[in-house]
Amino acid sequence: MRTDIILSGVGGQGILSIATIIGSAAINEGLYIKQAEVHGMSQRGGDVQSNLRISSDPIASDLIPLGKVDIIISLEPMEALRYLPYLNKEGWIITNTVPFVNIPNYPDQEKLMEQIKNLKHSVAIDVDAIAKSVASPRAANIVLLGAASPFLGIETDKIEDGIRRVFERKGEAVVEMNLKAFQAGLKYAQESLNK
């Protein structure tokens, strides 16, 4: 198997926790992994992304070439579209629908959502609302991970194990909250696929 992923969002939204969990699950499965991040000045309210590659065969480049990304997982709708040239024509965008507006010229939200829905494969999900209703607003990134999990090429229960390992030291309540958030995201994605 091989899955090339771009994780995107705005600095501080928590894309790196998603990467950590997928990474943990991938390592446990004996898969190869490469994950490139950008740290530093770009973290502060600016756009952030991480290239995450998992594969059963050795991986050459830390960066994913244009047109080769299988899934864009984004905590912000405009940030999902920023990396469109990297998405392969059969690839998926799994994105939060809630915009993070910290710039004066943020584009028209309806047009953004229209663009996302016009793609061949996409799941658009209000992870903030779902996180709030089933767990905690802080678990929004894990809801998104849940929604992306059917496309990762790793079984969902292995991802859940990853969540347990990553949040273990924060206590059972935090683990349970995140598992709930994950399940809610997964359920949403499955329902939207069956439509």
Binding site: R44, D62, L63, G67, R82, Y106, P107
Partner: protein, 530 residues
Amino acid sequence: MNNKHLLLGDEAVALGAIHAGLSGVYAYPGTPSTEITEFIQAHPLAEERNIHRHWSTNEKTAMEAALGMSYMGKRAMVCMKHVGMNVAADAFVNSAMTGTNGGLIVVAADDPSMHSSQNEQDSRFYGKFAMIPVFEPSSQQEAYNMMNDAFSFSEHYKVPVLMRLVTRMAHSRAVVETGAVREMNKMSFPSNPGDWVLMPAVARKRNVKLIGQQVDFLNESEKSIYNKYVDGKDHSLGIIACGIAYNYVMEHFKDGCPYPVLKISQYPLPVGLIRRLADECDSLLVLEDGQPVVEEMIRGVLDSGKVIKGRLTGEVPRTGELTPDNIISAMGLKDEEVYPPCELVVPRPPALCQGCGHRDMYAALNEVVREYENSRVFSDIGCYTLGFLPPYRAIHSVVDMGASITMAKGAADAGQFPSVAVIGDSTFTHSGMTGLLDAVNENSNITILISDNLTTGMTGGQDSAGTGRLEQICQGIGVAPEHIRVVVPLPKNMEEMKQVIREEIEYKGVSVIIPRRECIQTARRHNKQK
């Protein structure tokens, strides 16, 4: 025992150093090198062995302290971002002249494409300049393995070794398999103590010795396990791929590259291997991240007439980091058709955090300097550099660590008024203090704001060398105590701040205003810990 770890390139360097028997890391934070020292600071073995891991005031003090530890026979490492090499350069270049006792590795993390830097300088030039070997890993595993080899190299030949990373190596994770853990060196004085006194007579002798060693370093490169010649069927092209460029080549050839590839991860450049590639191939393509160091060198090595493609000839972009995409046409491959960029997407530049003290500082400063016809604000390296962007548009220069104070002084010397400097607390102790002494000695008419957030903020909140002592430092350097003014940058104190800034601009001499409030990111962390 689980010996597989998912590590950033930076962390692989750090763990490799610890396992190689490191006794001390010396560093000033700088993207993309910061995580090396942070990893060592958090590692249990570093605590158990009491490995030195405290931040240094700047890269030069770090380099010198590491050289002192090497003098005592112990293994030492210095870490910095590429522009830190400029600060450390005096000590760095001369450490090749003294030579080492315990192994000494200098890690320079370059930032091609300038993700978080002011230039694209390539540290391999520094290695060549100082006439010492350079290691450039192509994978996190190699980065780990190289540390022990580089320390051994350093101890065998008694020279410092430069380890060059680039952002995509430093900040990318992969699984690393770790090896044996070596003991730390015992203390020992150098066997050749006279070499360490670089008076001209000694330095001339050392220079000859170092030049004589170049042939040994070359032989090491020719047979290095990190330099690899992989033959291919199609000899119309031979590819020289340095460091991570090798990965970008192999990304396009899942079943092996049809062209011969020479992977280079150890310098000086293995000229024998390069001649072989040149003899066997009709043309050459040089792929290297950063500046065209190798490309320029081999144009001097090979006989004329050979077609050499690379950054200098335009087959590869002259600036910016390499990617798997921008080398495609150079290898004669075709770009695939991809989605065009989405027209709705607009840039989202970084910004100062909501609630940050620098914001209140700039809000007050902007209002006061507008009262003058032609004010100039010279700034510096740190989060407050973002004061250049809207909504503040408050600053007129950012050049290098500490330049705000000295540039404000030079501008005042030329007749500028008001001439204002804005510098952070950590940058001030890194390289601002000496410039302040220049200003005090001439009673320059400048106003300096040391925007003190009690930390090194931009790199994620490391300790700042002068925390709690800035007034003392300024007073010790000679600023009049009544012109060292501390304010708390909060919206409710806006009128007071403006008044203080106004008064100090009007004072004809050196004044220092210290707007002081903890970085809200570190404050949040501290509150959580409570």
